[in-house]
């Protein structure tokens, strides 16, 4: 019993293919990963919009002037 399909390397390597654990779950892994990727974009878009809104409201002309002069 092994998660990778082999519990010993007493094999002819010419017959060995995939050796990752939980073979057979590839489609499920892809679905979960794609959902996680899309969720990351949504989370970041919301976070960035909120931060830009906050920064715009807290705009400090004096600080901006100093930053501009600092090039």
């Amino acid at each position: 019993m092994s998660t990778i399909g082999y519990d010993s390397w007493a094999v002819d390597l010419a017959d060995v293919g995939a050796i990752y654990p939980f073979q057979g779950t590839e489609v499920l892994m892809v679905i979960i990963a794609v959902v996680a990727w899309l969720a990351w974009h949504v989370y970041q878009a919301k976070a960035e919009s909120a931060e830009l809104k906050e920064r715009e409201a807290a705009f400090d002309k004096k600080a901006a002037s100093k930053n501009i002069e600092g090039y």
């Binding site: 293919g17 830009l52 090039y71």
Partner: protein, 453 residues
């Protein structure tokens, strides 16, 4: 691996591509240095992180669907459907759930070949990144990065950079080291975003005269460009198949002489592309130094433009031809950058559209004249290289797969108000909040340590 020669060939090929990937990391490091050096102090960290995060995003999406596109789209739409005919098995073997896209002792090549293409994808996205600094929202850029890095450039690679691509078969399209396939498409894409995004505040005077916004750190910019040159060696090597027999190519080549080939499986040598890489770089730098009157930024960018212009035919050119073509490309990129800036009010912060887009476009077209009538691949029935085939290819790369989708997606983003940062934040600087927090933290810890004296 049937015998020891096959085994050695496979392991050598695996190691060869792996080394090219490591080299190509330097391209990305160079882009980061270049962009941060070109940005102003109040935007450094934002510029750094905006570009850096394209790396994981393009990587995972290139795993999810980008690599599959390369194998599924070569015949689409003019010679068959998506993943149709002979492409069906190859497309199936390169889905993200395929056993070959994994830890697999039966397949040593897919992982490194995928990674080599992935590093091209990062490059395509990074080219766009530099052009839009200091005013684009990160989240908008990251969507563009996924689109250019994992969708549009790889569609053009399937069409014009795959030995069975319809552009190669019908147009005789030849672009051995990606003048169009990477550079023109990314340059066109950058132009499409810039057209909608608009210039940085203060870039143009009220009468429309452009102002120079010099890099805050020219040293960093030119060292970044030199780093890109270094990584470009890996890029060139990665565009080749290092060793293959005529039997495996299964085309028109006769005899039993093994060879290196370009991406179309047509014969070339690492020696040839080494000559031509260096000579086109030199031609570009010499002309750019002259035309820019010794400006370091444009001299180094000109070297890059020189390589990019000659790249389409650098598997076959004579080194002196590569030098003159590189020189012409640098001259054209420099002139076109300032012409477009004045005429169309395009603020390309790092000259990416010129160095990659215009030079790449011209490089594809020049190869049509220089290599007119030469075979595009070793396979029977393919169109030979021609000026019209190359021109059509350049238009597809720069315009159809580059400018157009970028323009449309940017328009949608702009209409939703998610493309550009607010003007007040742009003036204050994207790093203002982090910089203020940094200064408070420093003052706090300094006060605490002094109290402990």
């Amino acid at each position: 691996m049937g015998n020891n020669i096959d085994a050695l060939t496979t392991v050598f090929t695996e190691f060869y591509y792996w080394v090219t990937v490591v080299f190509m990391f330097l391209i990305h490091l160079g882009f980061l240095m270049y962009e941060v050096g070109a940005s102003r102090r109040r935007n450094h960290m934002h510029t750094l992180m905006k570009n850096s995060m394209l790396t994981p995003l393009v990587t995972i999406t290139f795993f999810f669907f980008g690599w599959w596109i390369y194998w599924a789209f070569p015949a689409f739409p003019f010679l068959g459907g998506i993943a149709s005919g002979g492409n069906a098995d190859l497309a199936a073997a390169n889905t993200p759930w395929s056993a070959t896209m994994s830890t697999n002792l039966g397949d040593r090549i897919t992982g490194v070949f995928w990674a080599a293409f992935l590093l091209f994808s990062w490059t395509a996205a990074s080219i766009v990144s530099g052009a839009v600094i200091e005013r684009i929202r990160s989240t908008a850029f990251w969507i563009h990065a996924v689109l250019i890095g994992s969708v549009f450039w790889i569609i053009d690679a399937a069409w014009g950079w795959h030995f069975g691509g319809w552009m190669v078969q019908l147009l005789g399209y030849h672009d051995a080291y990606a003048s169009g396939v990477i550079h023109a498409v990314a340059g066109g894409y950058a132009l499409g975003v810039l057209y909608v995004l608009g210039p940085r505040l203060g870039k143009f005077a009220d009468d429309g005269t452009p102002r120079d916004i010099p890099p805050h750190n020219p040293w960093m910019v030119v060292l970044g460009l030199f780093m890109i040159y270094t990584g470009f060696w890996g890029f060139y090597a990665a565009c080749n198949v290092p060793i293959i027999s005529p039997e495996v190519i299964d085309g028109q080549i006769t005899g039993v002489t093994w060879t290196a080939t370009n991406i179309y499986l047509a014969p070339t040598t690492l020696g040839a592309i080494t000559f031509n890489f260096l000579m086109s770089l030199s031609g570009g730098m010499l002309v750019a130094y002259m035309v820019s009157k010794g400006d370091p930024f444009w001299t180094f960018s000109g070297g890059l433009a020189g390589i990019i212009t000659a790249s389409a035919g650098n598997d076959l050119y004579h080194p002196i031809q590569a030098m003159f073509i590189g020189g012409f490309g640098a001259w054209a990129a420099y002139k076109l950058h300032f012409f477009v800036e004045r005429k169309f009010k395009i603020d390309d912060a790092v000259g990416a559209v010129a160095v990659h887009g215009y030079a790449g476009f011209l490089g594809v077209c020049i190869a049509g004249f220089m290599l007119w009538g030469a075979p595009s691949t070793p396979y029977e029935g393919y169109a030979t290289i021609s000026p019209w085939g190359q021109f059509a290819g350049a238009v597809i790369m720069f315009g159809v797969l580059g400018f157009l989708p970028a323009f449309l997606v940017s328009k949608v983003m702009a209409s939703m108000g998610i493309l550009r940062i607010p003007a007040k934040v742009e003036l204050e600087g994207l790093d203002h909040k982090d910089e203020t927090a940094f200064q408070y933290a420093v003052a706090d810890v300094v006060a605490a340590e002094k109290a402990a004296l």
